[in-house]
């Protein structure tokens, strides 16, 4: 009875956390595309809110684990929430860091166009995040699989960006600073996609009750991923 009330609270907070992150990602991308430094600063300020929400959610989970000693699905659920919580927090951080780039880019002439489809790439990443959270809500394994498929697309785009940026620097070495900033945007989006994929994988583990495939999380960028 009490555990179910605690789980309800956790469910709501997790959804709120997810909503905050989705909005941050959306605003950070829009800030870059529309050169809106004010919007970007708002995202950076809001990151504290996401960090607070993460801490609170984590405490609620630990509280539930310690106090009610849940078993079976409830236990798996709480473990999954703890992991997803930290993924969301990382996504929030990445959105703030995209926004920092947005502030920097807004103070430079837009003389060199972004050499890749930033809007398209971020749309895919946003869809992945949205679907991974929906998969969690509905315990939808099929939707989770879609997220993992889209991750491959994002990885391909990121590899393409690497080449485009290389070309950009070769063509005009003076554009190196901007080129590197653009590559950074792509890398951050690609990292967000990874975290959305982790969430999707957790949904699969949670639903199928299989802990054996739990992946190790890497908060650092794995060197293998770097083209």
């Amino acid at each position: 009875m009490l555990l179910s009330r605690q789980l309800e609270k956790i469910r709501k907070e997790l959804l709120h956390m997810g909503a905050l992150c989705e909005e941050s990602v959306d605003c950070s991308v829009r800030a870059i595309l529309t050169r809106d430094a004010d919007l970007a600063r708002k995202v950076i300020d809001n990151d504290d809110q996401i960090d607070d929400a993460e801490i609170e959610l984590e405490e609620e989970c630990l509280h539930a684990l310690a106090l009610y000693q849940p078993v079976a699905f409830d236990l798996r659920y709480l473990v999954a929430v703890l992991k997803i919580n930290s993924d969301l927090e990382r996504i929030g951080d990445l959105a703030a860091s995209l926004s920092e780039a947005a502030v920097m880019l807004a103070s430079r002439p837009a003389s060199v166009e972004i050499p890749f489809d930033l809007a398209g790439m971020s749309r895919t990443v946003q869809e992945m995040l949205h679907k991974s959270l929906n998969a969690l809500v509905n315990l939808d394994v099929k939707l989770a699989a879609e997220v993992r498929a889209q991750d491959d697309i994002v990885d391909d785009i990121h590899r393409g960006v690497y080449e485009a940026v290389q070309k950009m620097i070769q063509n005009d070495p003076r554009s190196a600073e901007l080129a590197i900033a653009y590559l950074g945007l792509s890398r951050k989006l690609e990292r967000m996609a990874d975290h959305a994929t982790y969430i999707a994988r957790d949904v699969v583990c949670l639903t199928e009750g299989d802990f054996s495939s739990y992946h190790p999380r890497s908060d650092k960028e794995s060197p293998a991923k770097q083209p």
Binding site: R35, P109, A110, S111
Partner: protein, 229 residues
């Protein structure tokens, strides 16, 4: 010798405006796109010879005049560079957008070259750097920031802190129009929420307290307020 940067994609207008400014003794430089103009403005500022004023067309290919203006304001080196916006968009909401992007004044197309030159000179006059602590005078009104005192024709006027900041904002650049949002930004103390309507109410109070000299606080309909020059 004041140097003016003209950012306008229409070559004929660029030439026409430059001809008139040169005739009035200004030096000019031109850019045909926002990117080019921005790069030039930043480069000259970094080299220690900033432009005195930018004449900026709103409708430019790719990067718009609004974006150029915002970008200038974001960059510490060009943040204080006066901007006079040229625009075919005469709607009040457009003018508000231009001012809020950081333009100091606006001239709507079509314009008379003579009027444009006069407006450029006015912007240059009122954007001379001022000593923040020195008393400011406009007509019969004096505002002393250091002593937090206002007098009208020698008589002391008691203002609230909000009204004082409002008047001070208008006085620092006579003739420049401030939008309500900009006034809220300058007056805001961090506690009370200030709305557009309360800016209007403050203006009414300010006029009343300044008595016979109240009409210096001029309403620009649909846009904001300015000090009658």
């Amino acid at each position: 010798m004041p140097r003016i940067l003209i950012i306008e994609d229409e070559a004929d207008l660029r030439e026409l405006v430059a001809w008139h400014l040169t005739k009035e003794g200004f030096e000019t430089a031109s850019a045909a796109s926002g990117e080019e103009g921005l790069t030039l403005a930043v480069r000259e500022a970094e080299a220690g010879r900033p432009f005195s004023l930018v004449l900026l067309d709103w409708m430019l290919p790719k990067m718009s005049g609004i974006e150029v203006c915002k970008t200038l304001r974001q960059n510490a080196k060009t943040a204080a560079l006066p901007v006079l916006m040229l625009t075919a968009r005469g709607e009040e909401t457009d003018i508000v957008r231009g001012l809020e992007a950081g333009a100091d004044d606006y001239v709507t197309k079509p314009f008379s070259p003579k009027v444009l030159v006069a407006r450029a000179q006015a912007v240059l006059r009122r954007t001379q750097p001022v000593d923040a602590e020195a008393p400011i005078r406009a007509g019969k009104i004096t505002l002393d920031p250091a002593r937090h005192e206002v007098t009208a024709a020698g008589l002391s006027v008691t203002l609230t802190s909000g009204e004082f900041k409002f008047l001070r904002l208008l006085l620092t650049r006579p003739g420049r129009v401030y939008t309500r949002t900009q006034i809220i930004g300058a007056v805001h103390d961090g506690f009370a929420a200030v709305t557009d309507r309360s800016v209007d109410a403050m203006a009414v109070q300010l006029r009343r307290k300044l008595g016979a000299h109240g009409d210096v606080v001029e309403t620009v309909r649909g846009v904001g307020y300015r000090l009658k020059a």
